[in-house]
Symmetry: C3
Subunit: 397 residues, 3 copies
């Protein structure tokens, strides 16, 4: 049986009809069947492209990216995903636009969407803001579609918000699934999601929160480690606990990096800002209190500096399962002696895992494409079959 046939059979066994004409926000708002459908379609699209078969399901149409923070890899992942499906990317650069000039979000959401099939938003800066902004966008284009303003209803994809980073963690998970030879082999495995020191400040919590929210659904033990004062959002911890119970996994917390690394099958050491501090910063920005923000930054950097020992070292790696835990990172990492004096990870550790790290990242364009595909196509199995049968060359080699 062909690989594509196996993907199609897998999809036949899953219930994901609610994904049609829907958005992709936090992974925990999706059923496990829906997550599996996403991974399956991502693999199928990758397979088709590797066989030089076009996967364009759009002859024309726009994919709009709205980045409220700098980005290279997510920007290119989104652009790659849109291009793979036949959509042209248009960046909504708030600098170039008139949005600053008192324009309401509802209006902008409709004005840019007359021919938009997907809108990808990254808004991870302010606690309590980013996710809400995306959901507002979704409700406004929904309304516009129902009111007959928008001929099609653009799909919203969360390219990172203050709560979750679904395109990242879904790519991380697909990487892990491939590395461990199948989702079934992840049951009982331990992943250490641990804080690590970085000379920078104010990194989003979306990755650790996303990992807690997603990996607890793979029947794994998620060990969340951070120094005191670096707590993540309590709501997400609650989700982790519920998932662990529901999916036969485990969710533990510790203030010791060593404890988390002990016998871990996978480690994910990265820096993030304390949730409470991010909330405070959001208020300060709201008030435009720049002195307060500078003060806060000083405090946070000083606080970080107390935990320079939170580094992913060779020594710590030795304590993991057979000393061979899979090292994950969303990149870019703060690499001690390479990109900074003291950072999240020892250069030799990072360097040894460079190839798997890049592979991890390589899944993101396909994950985003799968999210769009499942929202835009009523019967994915049929369309995948049509694409394979059509055998339209992506590239005249």
């Amino acid at each position: 049986m062909s690989l594509m046939q196996r993907y199609i059979n897998k999809l036949d066994s899953l219930n994901f009809e609610k994904m049609y004409n829907n958005d992709f926000f936090e992974t925990w708002t999706k059923t496990f069947d829906e997550l599996q459908a996403t991974w399956t379609v991502a693999d199928a699209l990758r397979k088709l492209r590797e066989e030089n078969i076009s996967t364009k399901i759009f002859d024309s149409g726009l994919g709009i990216s709205l980045f409220r923070d700098n980005s290279t890899r997510t920007r290119f992942s989104f652009a790659s995903a849109c291009n793979l499906l036949g959509l042209e990317v248009q960046d909504l650069d708030e600098g170039k636009s008139q949005i600053a000039h008192g324009e309401t979000v509802r209006e902008t959401a409709n004005m840019i969407s007359f021919m938009a099939d997907v809108i990808g938003i990254r808004d991870d800066m302010y606690i309590g803001k980013g996710n809400k902004y995306m959901r507002d966008y979704a409700s406004y284009v929904d309304e516009g579609h129902k009111d007959g303003i928008l001929e099609q209803r653009p799909t919203l994809v969360d390219l990172q918000c203050d709560i979750d980073h679904p395109t990242q963690t879904m790519a991380d998970a697909l990487h892990v699934i491939h590395e461990f030879g199948g989702i079934e082999n992840l049951k009982g495995k331990k992943i250490a999601m641990t804080w690590a020191y970085s000379p920078s400040y104010g990194k989003p919590l979306s990755v650790p929160q996303g990992v807690v929210g997603l990996f607890t659904r793979l029947g794994m033990e998620v060990s969340l480690a951070h120094p005191e004062g670096y707590e993540i959002m309590p709501e997400v911890e609650e989700i982790g606990r519920k998932n662990a119970a529901a999916y036969g996994g485990k969710f533990t917390k510790t203030n010791s990096m060593a404890e988390a690394f002990k016998d871990a099958d996978i480690v994910y050491p990265k820096s993030w800002a304390p949730f409470a501090a991010m909330e405070k910063r959001t208020d300060l920005y709201g008030k435009g209190d720049m002195n307060g923000i500078n003060e806060l930054e000083k405090e946070l950097l000083a606080q970080n500096a107390k935990h320079k020992d939170w580094e992913c070292t060779e020594e710590l790696m030795k304590t993991t399962k057979d000393g061979k835990a899979l090292y994950l990172h969303c990149l870019p990492a703060d690499i001690t002696g390479l990109s900074c004096k003291e950072g999240e990870v020892e250069n030799s550790v990072f360097d040894r895992y460079r190839v798997p790290l890049y592979k991890e990242a390589s899944f993101k364009p396909y994950i985003i494409a799968a999210m769009i595909f499942l929202s835009k196509v009523r019967n994915p199995q049929d369309i995948l079959q049509r694409l394979e049968n059509a055998k339209k060359e992506r590239w005249m080699k």
Copy 2:
């Protein structure tokens, strides 16, 4: 008879051959047949897209946008129109380019056009400059084509200049045609094109001028209202008078918003700067006299502030035809209590008309596409028929 057949028959009844390989500047440089052809093709392209039929007449090619002022909706409308026809958008960002470095316009016009099928320019800042700049561009690419430098002759589309805003007013008119159930139902109807107060300063005159220049050709009464000192360009008023005479319409002027609103079927209240002041500003910029510009801005804001009573209120709306006049705006509007303290329109009025306002805007991408289509295709009827018969899916649903 199919709707498409009716569009094709309509086109058969019109004479618009001069549009082929031509540009689209002020609407009053086009015959009424040419305007009707544009509206008809816009409707036809929209119909095809709604039926999920590809309208790509280009397999490759570039659509170049040159924005000399910020823009969201016009930028996305142009990008949508290009994408709809198969052209990839390339922004000529004068920041990124070397144009500042003593490069002549003629040279740039040719250098960017080797594979350009359309160039859309927005240049509405300086009286006497924007329209001239576009026409220079047109003459230079024309020359380049004749000299054998450019294999194809790019079409110029005026995306807003100092004199007219044809893509806006043509979209406004198509919206009105649909709302009133046909162009024939507009005869004798009254539209109030009135100034309104805004806390901002220096808004272009292109919309009121464009409305005067276009709606007087629909056999309508155009009532232009503004406080003393907010006159538009006399040349455009003259065009309004001539059109009214030629097309059985009426063009009246008043300094009373109430008089304009009285029994109006349509109202278009929006702020603009006095023509004379814009001329003065243009000179000051020419001289680089920044103090003079700041002075002028203060004066204008003070002058505006004397006319805060020029607001589109519920009370004024009651005085319109059956209290139900259609409210138009090019967006974004200055909404009292929403986007500013005191503005062009009362929040409740704006909110009641939000859906029709967004629909009004939704015509712009199709209007721009129609302008390009009619310039690029020798026999639009044949091509529309070919596209419908081909039934190429825009999107594999």
Copy 3:
């Protein structure tokens, strides 16, 4: 025999198989057969487009442009070439990205390349840096491809570096080949590559060096002229000497513009910075010594000012072969009395050659497309034949 058949026969007579899956850096790293293949494919692609035949060899895929200096014409040439072949352009704007944030080049090169078929880089600012940067990029994506991270290996195209400007000089050469009615007619012809005065400072050496490196292979006499102190890189002069010997040409140096112009068939007068000064500037930037840089700029401008007599005048043009030498420039030129008070060329000379100058520039998009085509297609003759036979309309006229 059809023109396309002649192009195909020409390609059959050449050996260029090493271009497949390879990059395009300095022209002197290519065999003469490979250069001829590039010119031939450029002509063939242009012919197809002129016949309104689609030349898209990609159904989807990205062309990434990385400009580390402002650019209009090269940016649009690259975008046009990508569009011509079916690739969507994505700019890697280091402002928008996180590259500044301690990210290594190797990582970025891989992160942006998951669906990249070509990467065009312009990095001409710092001696000893730009070319190295591109070659690093090439080695990193090569590595990424071998490691199974990148499904395809993106082609690198040098869009101008500190050493060469291959897309410019290859376009210049194709223009000359057409003007002189064939490559065979260039043997023994003289080209004056001379320095000229410009009020600006720090113009790259890539053009004069590229001309020395390429035109000496056409059996021509390349006369390099500049004031003392404006030497180009000695390595490139050495290449010029070797080429002259190997290809039956001549490479001479002089400090007299008049001597270079004497009986020249072609003249290429343009400003550049002294190589030694560029090296010094690179060091100063490395140290972040801004005062030093300003000092250096003053010195260089003063040094330039001593050579205002290095201008391409009507008088000098009279001394060329029959007073009718072909005037070349990469544009934009500093035109005396037009774009500056005193510059590289007299206005009347420039104006007389404007049409051929624009034609010269028009070859660049096709040259870039040919470079990509020859790297991406295993059997160019077959694909050109397939494209011609398919006769897919580029544009439904």
